[in-house]
C-alpha cells in the first residue's frame, strides 16, 4: 500500500480487470465495486479516498449518485468519469452540479496511455507519493 486510495465503480468485469492491469504497474491497489450498492459499501468502509473512477450506467443506478456520495464524505476527492455513453448524453447542467469539468469525462473505449495520464494528473496534487 502506498497510501493512495482509488475506488473504481465499473460493472464490466473485463474493464475492471483492464484497469487493474494498468494501475498495478503504476503502483496502485485500487478497490473495485461492480454496482452502486457495492460502491456505497466500499465508500462507507474507506478511511480516505483520493480518486473515484466511475462509470455512469450501473446495473442498479447512476454513477452520478456515486460521485455525490463520495464528495459528501471526501470533499477533496478527485473524480474521473469513464462512460460508454455518447458525448452530450449528460447535459452541461448535471456535469456542473457534480462539480465536474468537461475534462473529467472520458469516453469508452479509452486508450491506455490516456487513462494513465488522466489518473496521474488527478493524483499529482494529492501530496502523497506514488
Amino acid at each position: 500500500m502506498n497510501g493512495i486510495s482509488i475506488l473504481i465503480v465499473e460493472d464490466e468485469e473485463i474493464i475492471r480487470s483492464l484497469y487493474k492491469r494498468i494501475l498495478t504497474p503504476m503502483g496502485h491497489t485500487p478497490v473495485f465495486a461492480a454496482t452502486l450498492r457495492e460502491g456505497r459499501q466500499k465508500l462507507l468502509e474507506a478511511a480516505a479516498l483520493d480518486l473515484l473512477i466511475s462509470d455512469i450506467c450501473l446495473p442498479d443506478g447512476q454513477g452520478t449518485d456515486m460521485i455525490t456520495l463520495a464528495r459528501k464524505k471526501f470533499p477533496a476527492v478527485k473524480v474521473l468519469v469513464i462512460t460508454g455513453l455518447p458525448p452530450g448524453e449528460l447535459d452541461d447542467r448535471t456535469i456542473k452540479d457534480l462539480g465536474l469539468e468537461e475534462s473529467d469525462m472520458i469516453f469508452k473505449p479509452v486508450k491506455v496511455d490516456v487513462f494513465e495520464a488522466e489518473v496521474r494528473k488527478r493524483l499529482a496534487g494529492t501530496g502523497r507519493k506514488e
Binding site: 473485463i14 474493464i15 460508454g84 455513453l85 455518447p86 458525448p87 469516453f107
Partner: protein
C-alpha cells in the same frame, strides 16, 4: 406547394375572344388568395353560358320600350297609350336613330315598323339583337309585308302585329313579350350566379367576374380591386385599363368608395370615368365588396364615351353581381386558407413521422454503440497492453496488432453512429458559413479538376452568422459534397452548385448536382444509418446519418430533394445567431 406560385402580375389570354389584343392583368399578393399560374383560362367553367348572361336586372318597376316608326302619328299613339300603362317609352324615327338609342340605353322591348327609310326593320332587328340579344322585338307590318314579317320571326323577333291594330291587342302582345323577357333575365341571373360560383380559384373567378361586368353593363373597361387594412386599393384584375388615367379613375373611385357611408350596404356609386371629356357623366360605377374584416374588394365598370349613363336596371344588375362576387371571393379565400391548412398539416405530419423514425433509430444506435463500447474497451485496452509487453514473440505480436487495428475500425464505426445519435454538442462558436464552404470545396479541388466538374457558387453578401461547431459542419459539407461528386461519376458535363441564403431567421446552404435523381422510394430513408444505394464496399451509408445527427444537434434541419432537372439537392438550414460571448465583443467595440 410545388405547382403554386404567388405572383404579382399575370397576363391572361381572353377567353371571350372579342378583344384578344387587350390583355388582362391579375394581382393578388397580400390578400390571402391563391393564383394558380399553370392554369390557362381558355376553358374556365361558365364559358358555355353564351347569350343569356346579359341583363341581370329583373323585377324592376318600370319597363322601357323603344318604339321605331317613321310615321310620327304611330309613334305618338304608342307613346301615349303605352305610357299610360306605366311603360317608359323612347321613340326613334328611323333605324339609324334606333340603333343609337340602343347603344345608349338598354331596352326591355323594341317595337319596330318594318318599312322605314335609311335602315329597314329587318336590318334594325339584326342590329338590335346584336347589341342586346335578350331584348325582345315586336315587328309591325302593313299589308303586303307578311313575307318580311315571317322572315323577321325567323331572325329572332318575338312576334309580329299587322297594321292597323287595336291598341288592346298591342298591349296584350307587349305584356306577353315582357313576361318572356323577365323570364329570360331571371335565367340570365341564374346563369351568372352559376358562373360566379363555379370556381373557388381566384385565377378562374376573376375573368368570370370581369366578363360578367363587361357584358351585363356593356362596359368598356372593368376592374376588380382589393384593399387591405392600410386602405389603399390595388387593381388585381382588369380589362381595358391600359391608359393610366383610366386606371387612376378606378383606383380613386375605390378610395372614395372605401369610406363613402351610402355604399356600405351594397349600393353602387357613380364616379367620373377619367377620360377627361366630362361628357360621360354617370357612365362609371363602383361597388364595395365587404369580403371579410380587413379585406375590402371593389368592382367597377366604365362605359365608352357616348354609350350613355347607367339606368336603374343596370345599377340593380350591378349590385346583384357585386353581392355574388363578394360571396364568391369569400369562398375563394376560405378555400385557399383550407388548402393551406391541409398542406401545413400534411407537412407537419410527415415531419413528425420522419423525426419520430429518426429518433427511434437514434435511440437504437445509441444503445448499440453503448453496448459495444464496453467489450471494445476491453479488447482495445488489453491488446494495447499486450503490445507493450516486450516478452511477446513477433508472430503473436502481429496477430495482436491485427486484433487491435480491426477493433479500432469498429471503434470508428461506433463513433460515427454516436455522432448520428448525439443530442447536444458542447463546443460552439459563431461561424460564417461562407469561408467554411470555401475551405471544404478546397478539399475537393483535385476531384473536381479530375472529373471536369463545373462548380457554381452563389454566396451573396450579408448572410448572417450561425452558432455551431466548425469541424462538425465541415464534416457535413464533406459528406454531402462527396455524395454529390460520387453521384456524378461518369456523367456528361457534371455540375455542382452551392448556394447560401437566409430567410426567416435561418441560414441555408443548398448543394445541387446533376448526377441523377434519388429514387422516390429511397428519399425517405437516405438519412437512416447504413442506408446506401451504392454497391457493397463503396461506402458504408453512415455519412448522411452522421450529417443528419450533427445538423439536428445544431438545432437545424437537413433535407434532400429531387430536381430541378436531372439531379438532386441537399439543403441545410441552421438558425442564425451569435454566441453571447461574440455579442459582448461586438457591443464593446
Amino acid at each position: 406547394m410545388p405547382d403554386v406560385a404567388k405572383c404579382d402580375t399575370l397576363a391572361v389570354s381572353d377567353p371571350g375572344g372579342d378583344d384578344t389584343n387587350n390583355p388582362r392583368h391579375y394581382r393578388a399578393d397580400n390578400y390571402g388568395f391563391r393564383i394558380n399560374v399553370s392554369t390557362t383560362f381558355r376553358e374556365y367553367p361558365g364559358d358555355d353560358m353564351n347569350e343569356t348572361k346579359q341583363g341581370l336586372a329583373a323585377n324592376r318597376t318600370q319597363k322601357s320600350i323603344l318604339v321605331i316608326d317613321d310615321e310620327e302619328g304611330m309613334r305618338d299613339l304608342l307613346s301615349h297609350e303605352l305610357g299610360l300603362q306605366g311603360y317608359l317609352i323612347t321613340t326613334a324615327g328611323d333605324g339609324e336613330k334606333a340603333v343609337e338609342e340602343m347603344r345608349r340605353t338598354k331596352f326591355d322591348l323594341v317595337i319596330s315598323d318594318i318599312r322605314m327609310p335609311r335602315r329597314g326593320g329587318l336590318e334594325t332587328l339584326a342590329e338590335v339583337k346584336r347589341i342586346s340579344p335578350e331584348t325582345e322585338v315586336i315587328i309591325m307590318t302593313g299589308y303586303g309585308s307578311i313575307a318580311a314579317a315571317v322572315k323577321a320571326m325567323k331572325d329572332g323577333a318575338y312576334d309580329f302585329i299587322q297594321k292597323p291594330f287595336n291598341i288592346d291587342e298591342m298591349s296584350a302582345l307587349v305584356e306577353k313579350a315582357l313576361e318572356k323577357s323577365v323570364l329570360r333575365e331571371t335565367l340570365s341571373m341564374y346563369e351568372a350566379s352559376k358562373a360566379v360560383f363555379s370556381s373557388v380559384h381566384l385565377d378562374q373567378l376573376l375573368p368570370i367576374i370581369l366578363r360578367l361586368l363587361r357584358e351585363t353593363l356593356r362596359a368598356e373597361d372593368t376592374a376588380v380591386m382589393l384593399a387591405d387594412n392600410s386602405g389603399r386599393p390595388e387593381i388585381i384584375a382588369s380589362t381595358g385599363l391600359e391608359h393610366e388615367g383610366r386606371k387612376q379613375a378606378h383606383l380613386e373611385a375605390a378610395g372614395k368608395a372605401a369610406t363613402a357611408p351610402d355604399i356600405a350596404n351594397g349600393n353602387a356609386m357613380v364616379f367620373e370615368s377619367g377620360d377627361g371629356s366630362g361628357n360621360n357623366a354617370g357612365a362609371a360605377v363602383i361597388c364595395k365588396l365587404e369580403i371579410e374584416p380587413g379585406v375590402t374588394g371593389f368592382i367597377s365598370a366604365n362605359r365608352a364615351a357616348g354609350a350613355g349613363p347607367f339606368n336603374p336596371a343596370d345599377l340593380r344588375g350591378f349590385t346583384i353581381l357585386a353581392a355574388q362576387a363578394t360571396q364568391a371571393l369569400r369562398n375563394a379565400r376560405l378555400y385557399h386558407k383550407l388548402e393551406e391548412k391541409v398542406i401545413e398539416l400534411e407537412t407537419a405530419r410527415n415531419e413528425l413521422i420522419q423525426s419520430e423514425k429518426m429518433a427511434a433509430v437514434g435511440r437504437l444506435t445509441a444503445g448499440i454503440a453503448h453496448e459495444l463500447n464496453n467489450p471494445l474497451t476491453g479488447i482495445l485496452g488489453i491488446s494495447e497492453l499486450l503490445l507493450r509487453d516486450e516478452k511477446i514473440q513477433a508472430g503473436l505480436r502481429e496477430d495482436i496488432r491485427d486484433i487491435h487495428m480491426q477493433s479500432r475500425r469498429c471503434q470508428h464505426v461506433i463513433q460515427d453512429l454516436m455522432h448520428f445519435a448525439r443530442k447536444t454538442d458542447p463546443i460552439r462558436e459563431t461561424l460564417d458559413l461562407r469561408p467554411l464552404l470555401e475551405e471544404t470545396l478546397q478539399l475537393f479541388k483535385n476531384d473536381i479538376f479530375r472529373a471536369h466538374i463545373t462548380v457554381r457558387k452563389l454566396f451573396p453578401d450579408g448572410i448572417p452568422k450561425v452558432i455551431g461547431n466548425s469541424n462538425q459542419l465541415k464534416q457535413v459539407f464533406v459528406n454531402i459534397l462527396l455524395n454529390g461528386i460520387q453521384s456524378m461519376e461518369g456523367k456528361d458535363s457534371p455540375e455542382l452548385a452551392v448556394s447560401l441564403y437566409s430567410a426567416k431567421g435561418l441560414v441555408g446552404v443548398k448543394f445541387s448536382n446533376n448526377g441523377g435523381a434519388i429514387e422516390e422510394k429511397d428519399l425517405p430513408h437516405i438519412f437512416e444509418p447504413f442506408f446506401t444505394t451504392r454497391p457493397t464496399g463503396k461506402g458504408m451509408g453512415l455519412g448522411l446519418s452522421v450529417s443528419y445527427g450533427i445538423i439536428k444537434s445544431h438545432g437545424g434541419a437537413i433535407r434532400a430533394e429531387n430536381g430541378p432537372g436531372a439531379g438532386c439537392s441537399f439543403t441545410i438550414e441552421l438558425p442564425e445567431g451569435t454566441t453571447p460571448h461574440e455579442r459582448d465583443l461586438h457591443t464593446d467595440s
